[in-house]
Structure formats: C-alpha cells, structure tokens
C-alpha cells in the first residue's frame, strides 16, 4: 500500500499550490504545555483561521516531538509536505533548523527563542528580562517578608535572562529584599518544583517567580495547598510565559495565588511572522527581538485582580522607562552586578 500512497501524495498537494501553508514543530511539551508551545500554536491557529486555511497538509499544522531525535525528522517531514513556512518552537530546535536550513535553501524556516544565522531562517527572540523586570517590581513592592524566590527550570542563558531581569526589578524598588534563586534542573519535574516551593515558603519567602515550565506546576500546587490549609496566609506565585491566573485558582474559592504573570507573546510573534511571510516580506536571516516596546513581553491583564492599583501604576512607569531606554535591564548575572 505504501507505493500507492506515495503517488497520491503530490496530487493532493498540486490542487492547493496557490495557498500559503504554515506549520510548526513543538518540543516534547506539545501544544498544551501552557507555555510557549501552546502560545505559538494559538498564534498559528489565529493566523490559519483568519486566512481561511484548513488544519492539516496545505493549511496550518503542527507536529509534536517525542524526543530529541524527532526534531530533524519532524522538520523534514514538514519540508516534504511542502509547507511554505516552518517554525521550530524552542531553543532545542536550534541545531536541527540550522542543518535543515542548509540542506534546503529554498525553504523558509523560523525559530523561536534562539538565533540561527542562515539566509532562509527568521529568528524570533524575546526580551524576557524586560518582562521579568516588571514582575520583579510587583514582587519588590508587594513582599511583606522581604524574602522573594525565583525557581528556574534548567540553568540556561535563556532562563538567566528571566532571573537577572527579575532580580533587577525587585532591587529597583526594594533594595532590602533578598531573592533566593534555585534551579530544578528540569522543565518537567513538578515534584521538584513543589519541594523547592515548599522549602522556600517555609523559610519565609512569600512570593515565588517561576520560569520552569511544567516544573512550575509544582510551585502552584504547593502554594494552593498552603493557601487551602490557611486561607489567611499571604503567599503568591508569579506565572510565566502565559497568563497563569487559572493555574493559581484555589479550589472552593474565587481566589488565585497567581499574583501576576510575565507573558511572552509567542502567539503575537508567530502570527506576525506568518503574516509577513505570506505577504512576501519574510525576514530571512534576521533576528527579530520582541520586547516591551513591541508588546512581545509584558504583564498579564489579570494582574489587577491581586495587585493594587498604585503598584500597577508604578509598573507602568518602569515600563515606560525601559521603553524609553532610561533603564537598561540586565540579561545576565554579570550585568546585574
């Protein structure tokens, strides 16, 4: 049966030559990781729906990877299915994209969260440090104990941007506050996240910012459990990547332990790039950086539920300063010092 299938393949594609098609490869997180994969897919879906594309070949689609070995295979699969623009979501895809872009110079690729210097690759990165700075301001202003925590997934330069920006934000408004930093060593170990959160809260930390993907679920779970045990306890989590207000909901109440979230608008960036490419403006070889100015990062709109007006106002002031260039946010620990 496979021979037949092979022959049918091109035929169906021929019928749709005029259409623009776009697809993405996720890492192991999949399109519902409540993080950048999901966000990217939302952007792609929006693009697809607005342009009347169908999900699947010739329209918009995604492939989920089950392991490192799948990145290249999945990207290649999309190339072979003649998608016009192919996204690799996440820094893990860097090598695979670099290689395939070289092999297939006529195809167009894009990568999120990393930079690939190839003429047929557009790179999308974010100024996570800027967004993290803002939530750092919130934390610095709202801590009661002057002890704040940061939980990182894996110690990567990327996550260091979150850490440095966050600490800079805290210090900017509250030089007395200390920030405890701990890395879980993984993005998918909720148990570690929970244990780290447990020890941080027990040692007096009242606000934890996590940049740890699925590991962060453990931070939420610990905060929720503590809140249920003692509803008067003032403890908070700051979400990352998307608005994580829902994740912080305390069952049986209408409260959430999510103080605010540092949102990273992968959806906006993906949508943007897909639109540009469709219109013939593919920014090949360029690295587009989305920061506060481009609305690529920011704080979640639900922040007003738990953050008082005046704090939000200060956040806005800092935001303007960063956009104006008055404040330069550090991206590494070295710059922080």
């Amino acid at each position: 049966g496979c021979g037949q299938q092979g022959q049918e393949e091109p035929k169906t594609d021929e019928g749709k030559v005029s259409e623009f098609s776009v697809a993405m490869v996720t890492d192991m997180g999949g399109i519902d990781d409540k993080s950048f994969n999901q966000s990217a897919w939302e952007g792609l879906q929006k693009f697809g729906e607005e342009n009347g594309l169908k999900k699947g070949k010739g329209g918009y689609d995604y492939l989920q990877s089950k392991g490192d070995a799948d990145y290249a295979t999945n990207l290649n699969k999309l190339v072979r299915n003649d998608f016009d623009l192919i996204f690799g979501i996440g820094y893990l895809m860097t090598d695979a994209i670099t290689e395939i872009a070289e092999q297939k110079p006529d195809n167009k690729f894009a990568i999120v969260d990393s930079v690939v210097e190839k003429p047929n690759v557009a790179s999308i990165t974010f100024k996570e440090h800027e967004g993290s700075f803002l939530v750092g301001v919130v934390a610095g202003l709202m801590t009661k104990t002057n002890k704040i925590g940061f939980v990182g997934g894996v110690e990567l330069p990327l996550i260091e941007k979150f850490e440095s920006g966050f600490i800079a934000g805290v210090k900017a408004v509250n030089p007395n506050a200390t920030v405890t930093v701990q890395y879980a060593g993984a993005f998918d170990k909720a148990d570690k996240g929970k244990a780290i959160a447990s020890s941080m809260y027990a040692s007096g930390v009242d606000i934890i910012y996590h940049a740890a993907g699925g590991t962060g679920n453990g931070v939420f779970s610990e905060a929720i459990d503590l809140k249920k045990q003692d509803p008067n306890k003032e403890i908070w989590v700051i979400g990352v990547d998307r608005d994580q207000y829902e994740e912080g909901k305390v069952p049986g109440t209408d409260k959430s332990v999510t103080l605010t979230s540092m949102v990273k608008r992968v959806d906006v960036a993906v949508y943007d790039l897909a639109t540009k490419t469709k219109n013939g403006n593919f920014p090949g070889g360029q690295a587009v950086e989305y920061g506060l100015k481009e609305d690529g990062v920011g704080i979640a709109p639900t922040s007003k539920n738990n953050v008082p007006e005046d704090v939000l106002k200060q956040v806005d002031e800092w935001k303007q300063k960063i956009i104006n260039g008055e404040v330069k946010v550090p991206t590494t620990r070295a710059e922080l010092k």
């Binding site: 399109i31 990781d33 060593g185 459990d225 909901k249």
Partner: protein, 317 residues
C-alpha cells in the same frame, strides 16, 4: 537546624508516600514469587486514572473527589495488573519481560487516551486535591510535632499506617503465611492444598492496587496533571525500596522514607549552608548511589523469596 528539619522531613514524607504504597504492592507480588518490574507502569495507570477521574467528576463529588479518584485508580490499576498476572502466572512468561511490557503498555495506552480525550499531550490541571493538614494533638508535641505531624497530607500518613497493616497481614494471618509459602516453595504450598495460582493472582492484583494508589496520589498531590513525565522512575524507586527493605513491609517503608529524605535533601539541600557548595549532581545521584552502597554494604545478603521469578508448573520436577 530544627527549622531545616521542619522543611526537610515533611517533604521527605511527601516524596516517600507514593513510594511506600507502591513498594508495599511490590512486597505482596514478590512475596508470592512474582517479580514485578511493572510497578512503574502500574503507577502510570494509577496516575492517569486518578487525574482523569478527578477532572471528570470533580463537579459531582466535590471535596470527596480525590478520595474517590484514588479508589478508582486502585481498581483500574489492579485490573491492569491482571495482564501481568495472566502472562507471568498462567502463560509462564518471563516475569521481568512481562513487567517491561506492562511499563511500555501503560505509558503508551494512557498517553494515547490523553491525546484522544484531551487532544493534547497532557491533561488539564486537577482542581480538587488533597488538603495539607496538621494532625490534631500530635502536631502539638513540642519539637517532633512540627517536624513530623505538621504540613502533611493525609494519604502520606495513611501510607505509613498501611505499612504496619501489611506487616500484620503478611506475618500474622493465614493469608500471609500462605502467601509467603507460595513464594518460597510453591509445590509445598500446593501439596498443602493451597491454590498457588489463585494466591499469586491475588498478590499481583494487590500490587496493582497499591501501585495504583501510589501513582494517583503522586499525580493528584504533586504534579496535578498527567503527562509523559508525571511518572518517570518512581516505580523503579519503589522497586528499589522494596529490595532495599528486604521484601519486608516495614523495611520497604523505611527504605522509601530514606529515599524521600535523600530526594528532599537534594532539593532543599541548596538552602542549607553546609550543603550549599556541594554541586547539585552529587545530591541528585545520592539516593541511587546510596541504594547501591546499601545493597553491597549493610544488607549484602538480602534473601529474595526462593521461588521468585519462576512460574509454577504443576507436576514439574
């Protein structure tokens, strides 16, 4: 120092609880002579069922949901363990291999179902979990109270209680005597009119049930959702705890608590000045290295049930 213990011990207990349940399951199965390397997969099934039940029925059952979820996970995992029982008891399969198959199948099947039902790689977040509690009276004991009996979850304490129950069952009741006889010398048991096959089926299904509980409380308390990474090695840790504990319920519990302690130390350790400069990798490999050391050192001769791993064929000499 005390403050540190107040952080480490509760988290050690909470890490240990799923291992205790599962390791006790392992004790039942292996005491009856059936190797159960499939504990990992049975935990996966438990975690999956627990989460899915919780998500589906939270509206109907409210606060009761997590408890019902455990029960359902227990039942489903024990039904799932029937596959291992049929293969290794009735079909004389190599028990280790059958266990490996269980592990593959459990993960494949549950992720397949997650994709089918939720259309994505992981489930939603569970909304109704277990509450943290301070045990009344006991938590008021000075020094020990805050360390041992505060900030815990009820299922964690149940795990410890259950270890004593299992000990009683295995060492004090006719069922336990027969179970052990079947694992040591099935033909002897057979000649005494004990149905070896039945005993082993019961034991394997008990291991499924307990691993199901272990998996479900892990998922409901800790990860709160189910994905490919929810259960990643806890079943093997439980297996190690069972062996480390010399196939004894209380030994298994002690080993599980010890692993929980090591794991908690590897996480909380970074907050302890003394351990701060130790590279994390040492703390990460600590439980595993200690297990190996323990097996070679203190308890070099852990005597496994004699008939462990051999199918019983009536009349075979």
């Amino acid at each position: 120092m005390l403050n540190i213990l107040e952080i480490i011990i509760p988290s050690a207990i909470f890490f240990a609880a799923p291992l205790i349940f599962t390791a006790l399951g392992g004790v039942f199965s292996e005491r009856s002579g059936v190797v159960n390397i499939g504990l990992e997969g049975l935990m996966v099934i438990g975690a999956f069922t627990g989460v899915v039940f919780n998500l589906t029925f939270a509206d109907q059952f409210g606060e009761l949901t997590p408890w019902l979820a455990i029960v359902v996970a227990m039942v489903v995992a024990s039904i799932f363990s029937l596959m291992h029982a049929v293969a290794s008891i009735s079909l004389r399969a190599d028990q280790v291999v059958s266990g490996v198959a269980i592990n593959f199948l459990a993960l494949g099947l549950s992720l397949f179902l997650v994709k089918m039902w939720y259309g994505k790689g992981q489930t939603d977040q569970v909304q109704v979990g277990f509450d943290k509690i301070d045990i009344p009276i006991l938590s008021k004991i000075p020094v020990l109270g805050p360390i041992l009996f505060s900030n815990g979850y009820l299922p964690s304490y149940l795990a410890i209680v259950l270890a004593f129950v299992v000990w009683y069952v295995i060492y004090k009741t006719p069922f336990g005597l027969r179970l052990r006889a079947v694992g040591e010398h099935p033909m002897a048991a057979d000649t005494m009119g004990i149905n070896v096959t039945k005993m082993r089926y019961i034991a394997v299904m008990l291991s499924g049930a307990l691993a199901g509980i272990g998996g479900s409380i892990y998922a409901i308390i800790i990860s709160r959702d189910f994905s490919h990474a929810t259960i990643s090695g806890q079943g093997f840790m439980a297996l190690a705890a069972m062996i480390f504990g010399k196939w004894h319920p209380l030994g298994a519990m002690g080993a599980a608590l010890f692993f929980g302690f090591a794991q908690s130390l590897s996480i909380v350790g970074q907050a302890i000045p003394f351990l701060k400069n130790v590279p994390t990798v040492y703390l990460l490999i600590l439980p595993y290295a200690l297990t190996i050391l323990a097996l070679t050192g203190f308890i070099g001769r852990a005597d496994a049930p004699k008939a462990l791993g051999t199918p019983y064929v009536k009349g075979k000499r």
